[in-house]
Symmetry: C5
Subunit: 353 residues, 5 copies
């Protein structure tokens, strides 16, 4: 997170709309992937410049241009000119700490999302995905290459389902749906960590627990920061009266909205349960202290009177009648035993052990 804010603050004082890439650079070169299809045809190729775009004589043909890697601001400007995008849209595409949002620019919709990953036991990784939905085209921008869009390309290629027949808005929906479904696996991962933590708390309370709880809390905070604006963005997509989204397809955005709500519900539930775990942890620490103190108190309470008695008869007074009694020693031993037994009985009654 640090790097983001730092880079952002470096922009202070610049003109709004100046194209500067804010965020990590993951790739050497931006890669452009061009897919064009209609109900009958399908073509996909990697292109190196916008000159390779189809002439666009077929009004039914839908073009999907995916750009991986955002460091090539020249290319972005070119795309902006070609599709007549507002400079602020390009600025937002390059600025990779956007909150998820949906903006209606009339001729096209601009949607920003955050795609989360939590590979293996690792930490939460996220990247910004920008989607521009126009009349017959979809532009998507990612920070780096990933397999995120492979299934969609495959579906387009094999013409599974209604996707080839359903227009650019359905394609945009498929992309967003894909990203939102990724949240479920992130939640699963979090849930597993929480359950492991809860199991651990039952047996032992290692001092690192609090750090782990803190880390989980942190991941939830990061997720949450992205989810609430996402909800808003999807909701405004669904309710948008833009002609770019057909009425038929708007129900699919409603479906994504339901998913986002369910994810938010789970995150809120996890937060509640995490605070419960913290309570368990803190009270375990207290119980542990209690247990330690009890052992100390029992030992001290039993041995202090005995040691005192032993000390008493270790005094060197000339005249101490008990010292010369025949059974004095064993008498004292007996008294000590009685005291010890009484103490133990007393603690048992008080349920100290």
């Amino acid at each position: 997170m640090r790097s983001r804010l730092q880079k952002r603050s470096k922009k202070a004082g610049l003109l709004p709309g100046s194209l500067i890439h804010i965020g990590e650079t993951y790739t050497d070169k931006s890669r452009i992937n061009l897919i064009h299809y209609n109900a009958d045809d399908f073509g996909a190729k990697e292109v190196s410049s916008l000159a390779d775009l189809p002439a666009g004589k077929d009004p039914q043909e839908i073009i999907w241009l995916n750009i991986d890697g955002l460091q090539d601001t020249k290319l972005l400007e070119e795309i902006g000119n070609h599709f007549a995008l507002h400079p602020l849209v390009l600025e937002d595409v390059l600025n990779t700490d956007q909150r998820p949002k949906m903006e209606d620019y009339g001729d096209y919709l601009y949607i920003v999302l955050r795609n989360f990953n939590s590979q293996g036991s690792g930490d939460l990784i996220s990247e910004q995905v920008s989607i521009i939905l126009g009349k017959n085209f979809v532009l998507s921008f990612r920070e780096k290459e990933s397999s995120l869009f492979a299934t969609i390309e495959e579906r387009l290629r094999s013409s599974k389902g209604r996707i080839r027949k359903s227009g650019a808005d359905y394609l945009a929906h498929a992309i967003i749906d894909n990203i939102v479904d990724n949240y479920f696996s992130v939640l699963e991962n979090l849930e597993e960590k929480m359950e492991a933590l809860e199991d651990a708390l039952v047996n032992r309370i290692p001092p690192s627990t609090i750090k782990e709880i803190h880390n989980l809390k942190r991941e939830l905070i990061v997720l949450r920061k992205s989810l609430w604006p996402l909800r808003e963005a999807i909701s405004s997509l669904e309710r948008s009266d833009s002609s770019l989204i057909s009425e038929d397809n708007s129900i699919y955005f409603k479906d994504i909205f339901d998913h986002v709500i369910a994810i938010i519900d789970s995150v809120e539930t996890f937060r509640d349960m995490l605070s419960g775990l913290l309570d368990i942890y803190l009270s375990s620490v207290s119980n542990r202290l209690n247990e330690v103190m009890k052992v100390l108190a029992i030992i001290a309470t039993i041995f202090m009177p005995l040691t005192f008695l032993a000390g008493l008869y270790g005094m060197n007074f000339k005249f101490m009648p008990e010292l010369s009694w025949r059974w004095g020693y064993f008498g004292v031993l007996g008294i000590m035993l009685v005291i010890a037994l009484f103490m133990i009985y007393y603690f048992k009654k008080k349920k100290w052990f």
Copy 2:
């Protein structure tokens, strides 16, 4: 909960609308129960395929089709085709971690609910119940067979009350009312557990208390997660201007809405009281520690000076005049007694015991 999220995430990348059963499979085979009735007639039978549906010449006849077990996706598709349901509705029926909701598809309303059970001292069990209310039919889908609908069938059979005369919307209302009333027994069960816990806290504070409080809290969180969307769903049912719900019957949905509000109130109250129990528990632990430390401090404070005195006269100096005094020993014993009594008096005054 784990299984749900896991199965859900497996769907990532699939087409929306693909029929895949997400959730536990409880039965070998889906069972279809067909009830058809009007003011005069009533028939109920178990059918094996939709071919057994009545021809539907009687426009007054109401058909209630109940399906138990959701693994038979073929059957679901068949039903979907027969009643002209949207693919997303079927997807939601099969996906058993839906939030409660109500959706108006024009020709029919789709309602998802969660039915809770807490048998005996056991944990909270829940299943998803989907209801589709059409012009003259009600479809209900459950994850497994249960006695949940037995009373309604019985009422229909014996024509008790207005149920046979009141249309499909009243039947839907009766089903929902049944499910919502189940929440009350779940609340009762929770209340009993909380009272048992509170009684236990008065006498003893076993270290397991915190776990029990955590479990109760968890159950409340699960309930709550289901209740708020339920409230919304019932509210939109009540306010719906769908022609499927007659004005006369909408007051009955208002009644269910009141019940849901009352249940939510109770759950919120329970949460407050549970946090109160946690406070009691934590302060009991503190008090207990205080008590232990006091015993330790009293014992140590009384015996340390005495032991020191005994040690003092156990020194082997050649010249220690007291040692040869006639009443030295008894004098020291007397001084020790005075010290001990003073200490006890001091602690009494400080109200340490």
Copy 3:
């Protein structure tokens, strides 16, 4: 509270609108009190059946029928038929765990309230009061007889104020005002308990404090659970465009609304102050532990070195030159005194006592 939920859950599966009394039965028999008045006349009698109702030829005459005790469901049905009440209204009258609410049934308004009492140092007692306001009549239902309505009857009898001239809505207002004013005395009682608790905390911290705080918190929760819906109910009464409430009198309902808001304010303030008391209590417990530990630490720190020194010269080595020194013993005593004084000085400087 337990009894309520239990009885309620027994209703699960029954038809909505079935008349079953849910709640405690306080009286042997329902008592019906009939008051009828206009600007000039006044009559009050106990009747045994609805046959005794006046024929109602005088259109100006207002009838107030008060029923104490709800176990006589037959009577309720009779009243329902006579005044043409909806079955759900009767069901709500009988179901004594309603949330406060106001419902407009066109020909009459149905209002449910909760009347609180806290007699002496006792616990909070509450009963449900249902009010039905019609064109020329007011029906009121209570769970048991009480003196709640005596002052209103007295006012009607002696024709104090505008009450005899102001219609059924003003009578309903007077009844509600009476109930809401009762909340103030309940608040007073709570305030006295809180102040007693706060005074107690200044001097002593008995372990029962936490229980008392918990009990107060509980009473506040119960009050609160009733107040928020009450606020809503009164607000909808005030804003109601029902012709049953004249414009002139609606300002009086506004007045009650202001009272309810003030009561809610106080309850919220009490909650804040109670959490402050809990903080004081918990920090007192901590301080107390600190104090105990300090005494222990001071005693131990002073006597441990002294006891060690005494033990040192109690050793039986053959060759210990100090033992045979003339002033060895007194020298050691002096050293011990110096050590003790230094320790005391050290603790004084550290402000340990």
Copy 4:
């Protein structure tokens, strides 16, 4: 606060609109101050009855009637009749625990405010100020005499600013502005107390700290209880479409509204900071306990092994070879020194001191 609720509850059962003074009585007799002015003239005198009111032939003349002391209910009734006030308004004037509010009665606006004072180091004192703004008159009611209105009278007398030319609404604005500005000095006082507390916490943690924090919290709660409704009242004054407030002057009420918002902001900030102080206090108590326990543990850990060694060689066994060694005693002393030094080194390494 106690007195208020108690007196209020005594009103239970009375007719709404009955004039009874609820609150403390501060003065022997109500004092009436009459000020009348227009752009050219100004007159001020103390009157004893309403008969002294000017005949009111000059339609430009504005009358300001200020009443100090509310026990004279007769006088109030007289004023009510003269200015045609609603009985509920008079009741609210007399009932001195009103929440701040603004009510539009068509011919006049009724505004209730709470004026706070915190003289010296003393507690928060508050009084209710009622303002009635009519066409050409302003009535103000205070619980007791104070210098609150002196500056306004002075301004009117000397015709400073636009006040003499600007109508009754501007006068009402000046009065309210005066009261709201008083909140700033109360906040200042609170801020000073908080800073003193924070400074104190840096050095010492006297056990009274928690009480002081509690008291400050309490004062904030009292302030807050008054501020939120005040905000509402001023806001409805500002947005009021009453003809009594000219459009020109409404901007001045907007100004007061901004002040109230700023005050609320500060109070909320203070609450946050106070909870921070509580955290500091509680963690200081914990740290202090830690420190005490460390001293105890260090002393005990050093001297227990030494005392054991001394005890060992104090045993009276016949055959203990070490006792007769020539350097036995000094050897043991050396071993003791080594143990002590090692312990000190160990604690240093563990950073215990």
Copy 5:
């Protein structure tokens, strides 16, 4: 903060609209900077009075007047008269503890902002910046000179971007954008402090940690107090239907709004993470106490029985058979060793170390 409230309360009782500078005075003399430009020309000079303002014959020319230092109330009045500003606007300009806000006065918009700085490791410093946007002019008021506007002046001079061609509203936007971007560097600074704190918590828990957490919390509170009204102000700027803001440029204010939302998100996230740090700190303190107590308990539990045994055989009874046994001494030593080893084994098993 103290100085602000104090100065503000001194204003109590004065007329609204009286020009008094509330806040620190940083400069000897107010400095006036005049910039005037159109698409072709640009001029900048420091002027000493308003007489130096250009005659304004060119309707396209935009004037930007920046005033640094607010103590010269005469000058302010002069400016107010020249640009026909409302007295309350001037009062707000001088009163430097305004909440951020935007007010539409028809002929001009009045915007107040707070500019934050956190130089080096230092504390948060803030100053109020007032902006008045009129038809062809922008007035800006700062408490003291700073480099804040240098980049904008430079941009105007060198005619970078669209700024010279875009009207006064674009200039106002550039100023506000500059200030909002400053928040990012403040956030960065806070983030660094938090990370340093978190790193520190992993290794050591110095008692000053709680103070640092408190200070960070305080800075967040101060930031937050400014951010929420800022959000409101920018939002009303963006949605304003004032003709002063062209439709083209309103999208730039939307952009600033997005930045503010992102800043608020970060601040809220920081608050959550800070409370997590507090949890870590407090639990570290508890763990530390536990550790100390364990060491104490282990030492005491091992040595108390041993010391008792040693004391036992130090008793001076005449008849103690063990004392004369040949191997008595070594037997006791052996028993002591066994006890010590058993204790150590017991603690190991209990995982105490």
